[in-house]
C-alpha cells in the first residue's frame, strides 16, 4: 500500500512504460477467477508454451507474443460451467471450441496495440489434421496457436490431486496418440524431450512457473499509453458483463461519473481518462464472487455479504501487481473505504485517501443507489442524494466532491 498519500491531490498518472507480462497476467487472473478462488490454468499454459518456444529457439518477439497470447487464450470463455468443461475434458466439443475461439479473437482485436494476438487466439483449438470448423490445417495454422493448443491440452490432463510424476507416462501416451491428428507431430517430438525432465513437471507442481514467467516478463517492457490501458480495462468490463451484466453497467456508470467529477474539479484530460480507466477496473474483483450471490434477488445474508466484501481486496491485489499503474490501483480499489475509517476491506481513513479515491467512492455510491439491483429497483436521484448527504455529514464521503456531483445534476 502507498505510504505517502497527498490527500488533497488526485494521485499519480500511470508511467509511460510497463511490462506487458504484468498487464496480461492480471487479465489472465481475471479470466481464471472462479467461484471463491483464482485458478492458475492460464499461467500454467503460458509456462508450458514458454518451455516449448525456448526449446524451438524462437525469436524473442515471437516468444513474447506466444506467451502473452497463451495468458489470455481463454478470453472467449468466462462462464464457469464452460470453463470447467474446457479444462476438464481432454476432448473439447467442437461447438464450444469454435465459439470460444471466435469470441476470444474478437475481444483480443480490441487490444489494438497488440494486433498479432487475435489470430493466435482464433486458431488455438485447431487440429493439425484439419477436422476444424473452417478446415484450416497443418502449417497454415500459426505456430503459436499450435503450441498453445498442445500446451492447453497438456495442462488439462494434469490431475492436481495426485503426484505429478506418476502421471507423466499416461499424459505422454495420450498426447502421442493424438500426434498428427490433433497436434503438430514436430511439436509432440519437441515436447517429448521436455517431458523427460522431472524439473518441468515439478515446476508445475510447486508453482515455480510464477517466477519463471516473472523472469520472462522483464523482456516485455514497452511503451503503454492511456488508450492501450483503457482497451484492457474495456476487456475486463466485457468479462464482468458476461457473468453479471448489471455489474458491468455499474462500472460504466461509475467510470463516466467519476471522469465527469474529475473534469469539474479542473484536472487535465489525461487525469480524467486515468480516473475513467480506474472506474472500469473498480469491480474487477467481483469476478471472484459467485454469480448466484451477485445476481441474488433478495437481500444478502451476513455470510454472503462477507463473500462480496472481498471484491475490492481482489481488485487491489490484481492491479497492484502491475508496476507503473500510478494511482489506478488505489483509485479503483478503495471505493468502499470511508473517510472516517469505517469502510472495508483495508479500513483506512481520510489521511490515506487521495482525491481520486474519494471521487471513486462518491461515484460508486451514487451510481449504485440510482441503478436497479437484482433485489431492489433504483432509488430516485433525490433519495440517493439524501443518503449521500447524510453519509457526508457522518464524515464518510468528501464534502467538496459531493457538492460537485450535486452541481452537475
Amino acid at each position: 500500500m502507498q505510504t505517502k498519500i497527498e490527500v488533497n491531490k488526485l494521485g499519480n498518472l500511470p508511467d509511460s512504460k510497463m511490462r506487458l507480462s504484468e498487464l496480461f497476467i492480471t487479465l489472465s487472473s481475471a479470466l481464471d477467477m472462479d467461484n471463491y478462488e483464482i485458478l492458475d490454468h492460464s499461467r500454467r499454459v503460458a509456462y508450458i508454451a514458454l518451455e516449448i518456444a525456448e526449446m524451438l529457439e524462437l525469436e524473442k518477439e515471437e516468444i513474447n507474443q506466444l506467451v502473452l497470447a497463451a495468458l489470455i487464450h481463454d478470453l472467449g470463455i468466462v462462464d464457469t460451467e464452460k470453463k470447467e468443461k474446457a479444462q476438464n475434458l481432454f476432448q473439447i466439443e467442437l461447438g464450444l471450441a469454435e465459439s470460444h475461439c471466435r469470441l476470444g479473437a474478437e475481444l483480443t482485436e480490441k487490444l489494438n496495440f497488440m494486433p498479432q494476438l487475435a489470430d493466435i487466439i482464433y486458431f488455438h483449438h485447431h487440429n493439425w489434421s484439419g477436422s476444424n470448423f473452417d478446415r484450416v490445417q497443418g502449417n497454415a495454422i500459426p505456430l503459436a496457436s499450435r503450441i498453445i493448443h498442445l500446451s492447453d491440452r497438456i495442462e488439462a490432463l494434469i490431475d492436481s490431486e495426485s503426484f505429478i510424476l506418476n502421471q507423466v507416462d499416461h499424459i505422454m501416451e495420450t498426447i502421442k496418440s493424438r500426434s498428427g491428428s490433433w497436434f503438430d507431430p514436430e511439436l509432440v517430438k519437441i515436447f517429448s524431450v521436455i517431458a523427460e525432465k522431472e524439473s518441468f513437471w515439478l515446476n508445475l507442481k510447486v508453482k515455480e512457473y510464477n517466477s519463471i514467467l516473472e523472469k520472462w516478463g522483464r523482456r516485455t517492457r514497452v511503451k503503454i499509453n492511456l488508450s492501450d490501458l483503457e482497451s484492457i480495462a474495456s476487456i475486463v468490463a466485457h468479462l464482468i458483463d458476461r457473468v453479471s451484466p448489471f455489474t458491468s453497467r455499474h462500472s460504466t456508470g461509475v467510470a463516466t461519473i467519476a471522469a465527469m467529477i474529475t473534469h469539474e474539479l479542473g484536472y487535465s484530460y489525461q487525469q480524467q481518462r486515468a480516473i475513467r480507466i480506474a472506474g472500469l477496473f473498480h469491480d474487477l474483483g467481483k469476478l471472484i464472487v459467485p454469480a448466484e450471490i451477485i445476481e441474488k434477488e433478495a437481500e444478502l445474508t451476513a455470510a454472503e455479504f462477507k463473500v462480496v466484501k472481498q471484491h475490492t481486496f481482489y481488485t487491489y491485489r490484481l492491479l497492484n501487481k502491475i508496476q507503473g499503474l500510478g494511482s489506478i490501483p488505489e483509485w479503483a480499489a478503495f471505493h468502499h473505504e470511508r473517510l472516517d475509517g469505517t469502510g472495508y476491506p483495508f479500513r483506512i481513513s481520510g489521511d490515506q485517501l487521495n482525491t481520486g479515491s474519494r471521487i471513486m467512492a462518491v461515484s460508486d455510491v451514487f451510481q449504485a443507489l440510482t441503478e436497479d439491483r437484482p433485489y431492489r429497483p433504483a432509488f430516485s436521484i433525490d433519495k440517493a442524494l439524501g443518503i449521500i448527504d447524510s453519509m457526508e455529514q457522518e464524515a464518510k464521503l468528501d464534502a467538496e466532491i459531493v457538492a460537485v456531483l450535486k452541481n452537475a445534476i
Binding site: 483503457e230 482497451s231 474495456s234 468490463a237 466485457h238 458483463d241 451484466p245 458491468s248 453497467r249 462500472s251 460504466t252 456508470g253 467510470a255 463516466t256 461519473i257 471522469a259 465527469m260 467529477i261 474529475t262 473534469h263 469539474e264 484530460y269 480524467q272 481518462r273 475513467r276 472500469l280 440510482t370 433504483a378 430516485s380 436521484i381 452537475a408 445534476i409
Partner: protein, 103 residues
C-alpha cells in the same frame, strides 16, 4: 454550441447539437435538456450526426440526464453517431449498453 430542436409531438423531441460537446458548452446542453425535461417529453432523441466530439463532462451529463428521464419512465436515445471517435468511445466504456444508441 448550436443546436436545433424539433418537436415531433407532445411525447417526443429531437435535439441536434453541432460540433463539440465540451466543458465550454456542456452546461448549455444541460440547461437545454432540463428545459425539455420540465416539459415532460417521454422520449428525448439526441441526433449526433453533426457532433464531432464529446468530453468527460458532456458524457457525464448525458448519463445523468438518462437517469432523470428513466425516473419519469422516459427514455434518452442517441441517434446517428457519425464520428468514429465517439462511436469507439461509447463502445470502449460500454456506455452503449447503458444509453440506447440507434444506428
Amino acid at each position: 454550441m448550436e443546436s436545433k430542436t424539433d418537436v415531433i409531438n407532445s411525447e417526443q423531441v429531437v435535439i441536434s447539437p453541432v460540433g463539440n460537446i465540451d466543458f465550454s458548452n456542456s452546461q448549455d446542453l444541460k440547461d437545454k435538456l432540463l428545459e425539455l425535461f420540465k416539459k415532460d417529453y417521454k422520449k428525448v432523441i439526441l441526433d449526433f450526426s453533426e457532433v464531432e466530439s464529446i468530453d468527460s463532462s458532456g458524457l457525464g451529463k448525458l448519463l445523468l440526464f438518462h437517469k432523470k428521464l428513466k425516473e419519469k419512465e422516459g427514455k434518452l436515445i442517441i441517434r446517428n453517431v457519425e464520428s468514429d471517435y465517439i462511436k469507439n468511445m461509447f463502445e470502449m466504456i460500454h456506455l452503449n449498453k447503458v444509453i440506447t444508441i440507434e444506428e
